[in-house]
Amino acid sequence: MDMVSFKGIIFIIAALIAVAASVLMATRKNPIHSALWMIVTFFAMAVIYLLLNAQFIAVAQVMVYAGAIMMLILFVIMMVQMEKGGKGDPGETGRSAKTKVAGALITVILFGEMLFGALYYQMTGRSGDYPVAMVNSVGNVRTIGSLLYGQYLFPFEIASILLLVGIVGAVVIAKRKE
């Protein structure tokens, strides 16, 4: 089996599913249905991460995003009761011009960044410090582990403080609502 074309086919399928599911997510009227299409998008993204030899990111994508974050989103939807025509229905009022502009801007910036990243390495022929062959020989999780607890120690400790802020924030918001 020709591995390159096989990977190419899988990539195209996963990418098409991701795009289609995110379009469906944005256009559904029922917020719960939107949330479910988002899960499909996350899954397609996980497949793309696998194609890039990023197994750990793929697993984290499924576990944290498709599992934990989606569950939180569904809980919040159920809590504020965003039923069609209900009090919290964002139908007309929620999408103001400001949010539209901000959304478009973020999309353009992210797309530009992605294009730059792809083209930069393509044109200059440079590769990153950790090429695929090397990562695969050590193992993806092992590479992440040794980098995270060596070179990137400081950002890692900062992450714990961020999570701490998240805990405190959740409790404060919930206590105020009660």
């Binding site: 696998l50 194609l51 944290v64 159920m78 040794s146 607890y149 120690l153 701490l164 805990i167």
Partner: protein
């Protein structure tokens, strides 16, 4: 990458088989429906009020805490797998990470967010 193909195949298989089971039962089983039979079950009574009631905010706190601990554990897993190669320092940095989060845990406990009455 190739070792993940069975997962995709089995996912498709699972959906297919479950659909076949339901489909077969749909074809084999009787379908005699009437209005009462298709109404929502509420112990044989007329349903009262909206079904989708607001859920308690405590569930939200629990979900939020779960998310944060889940992310923390995602950091712990790569650490556990490289631990053999790390020095004592590697353990100390994880100790600091866990202690910072434990402060958050104690805060939540003290604030009574874990209490249910």
């Amino acid at each position: 990458m190739i070792e993940y193909v069975p997962i995709l195949v089995l996912m498709c298989f699972a959906i297919l088989i479950a659909s076949i089971i339901v489909g077969a039962s749909y074809l084999l089983g009787p379908r005699i429906s009437n209005k009462t039979k298709l109404s929502t079950y509420e112990c044989g009574m007329q349903t009262i009020g909206p079904t989708r009631m607001k859920i308690n905010i405590r569930y939200y706190i629990i979900a939020m805490l779960f998310l944060i601990f889940d992310i923390e554990i995602m950091f712990l897993y790569p650490w556990a797998v490289v631990m053999g190669g790390l020095k004592l320092f590697g353990f100390v940095e994880m100790l600091i990470f866990v202690i910072i989060l434990f402060i958050g845990y104690i805060y939540v406990w003290r604030k009574g967010a874990l209490e249910w009455e």
